[in-house]
């Protein structure tokens, strides 16, 4: 990872990797949507409504993963002052917030027909809502100070503190009684999803993952380019003055 902390090397790597990630995302999402909408069976309990899972679950996984990226970038920015750490964290936050919003909205649409309620304040739903607020708080703090360095430091500390929420989200369904059911895929005794439904789910998850990687690289490249332009403008102004 340290090797790519050099912005010039990162630019070369990301330029080469971006089309591959984008292509893989389109392929996986296309195949995943086809399988989840047309080639997978209805559930024995939930009927056709189960298809919401193929969007809801990958969005939830990526919401957690993107937060880990934000936190890891913040640690590297605070501890080692890596030039790329803060840029990556800053770039990942809005994507993760988007995944979290998709997870909350699709979960709500799923909850009404299955549970009978759009929203309940159980431990799983509440902790995911807290994750969404952590993302929003991180993004708000970045721009809350006149001095961007101070804003970046405050936001990084918030992102790292928020990591305690991740295990709470993951195990909330095991630690407490919740309306949300326990995990179906990442569990000790193997998945409790029939293979015909697990395949489209994993395809969609891979698609969401590649999408995240592609958009993250794109956003980091854009931020690096913006910083370069700012530096060039400053240099030009000094020459004029």
């Amino acid at each position: 990872m340290h090797r790519f902390a050099n912005p010039a090397r990162f630019q070369r790597f990301s330029a080469a990797a971006l089309p591959w990630f984008a292509g893989a995302a389109i392929l996986c999402l296309g195949a995943g949507l086809y399988f989840s909408l047309f080639r997978s069976p209805a559930d024995y309990q939930q009927g056709e409504t189960v298809r919401i899972m193929y969007v809801h679950v990958p969005a939830a996984w990526m919401a957690l993963f993107a937060y880990l990226v934000v936190a890891a970038g913040s640690v590297s920015a605070l501890v080692w002052k890596h030039p790329l750490g803060e840029v990556v964290a800053r770039a990942a936050a809005p994507i993760g917030a988007g995944f979290t919003l998709v997870c909350l909205v699709t979960g709500s649409l799923w909850g009404k027909p299955m549970w009978g309620a759009w929203w309940v304040w159980d431990a799983r739903l509440t902790s995911v809502l807290v994750l969404f607020f952590l993302y929003l708080g991180y993004m708000a703090l970045l721009g809350a100070f006149d001095d961007p360095v101070r804003g970046g430091r405050a936001a990084s500390i918030l992102a790292i503190v928020g990591v305690v929420n991740l295990p709470v989200i993951k195990w909330s369904v095991d630690w407490w009684n919740t309306l949300h059911q326990p995990a179906s895929v990442a569990r000790m005794d193997g998945p409790t999803i029939h293979p015909s439904m697990l395949l489209p789910l994993l395809l969609m998850a891979a698609g969401f993952g590649f999408y995240f990687a592609a958009v993250l690289l794109l956003r980091v490249r854009a931020e690096l380019a913006a910083r370069r332009i700012r530096a060039l403008r400053l240099a030009a102004m000094e020459v004029e003055a």
Binding site: Q45, Q46, V75, W115, G116, W121, T192, I193
Partner: protein
Amino acid sequence: MTRKRRRLLVLAVALGLLGASTALVLSAFQDSLVFFYSPSDVVAKGPPGDRSFRLGGLVEPASVARSADGRQVTFRVTDGANAIAVAYRGILPDLFREGQGVVTEGRMLADGRFEAREVLAKHDETYMPREVADALKKSGHWKEGEPAPVGGRPAARP
């Protein structure tokens, strides 16, 4: 010690303390973080007075009865050890059936029945096609009212 090492150490110690304090707070609030109480909880601790609370468990098989006009439903919520009779007037979710998990919100009446204002259905973490579920039931690997076998495979017998 270099400044980088010191920053890393401070961060690790702060995170450790934060994690420990979060764990303490969450375990201290254990009772109020649960979404619902089981019938055994209610029997052991007694209902929280006149206050509204949520009662969760499985709908006991062969306990659902409707009134003559079909609007009032009574059923028993069980966790295997204890069961509490529930009365509800309103629309039930589609997943509501005997053997299904439910969470009901309401209060205990003086006669020991639970009057529900809201009934939510709870489904488990098992997903499988209907044909597989039917085949499992037909072959006797899974009986009505039991938890579903893991992953659409017959549950391993201990």
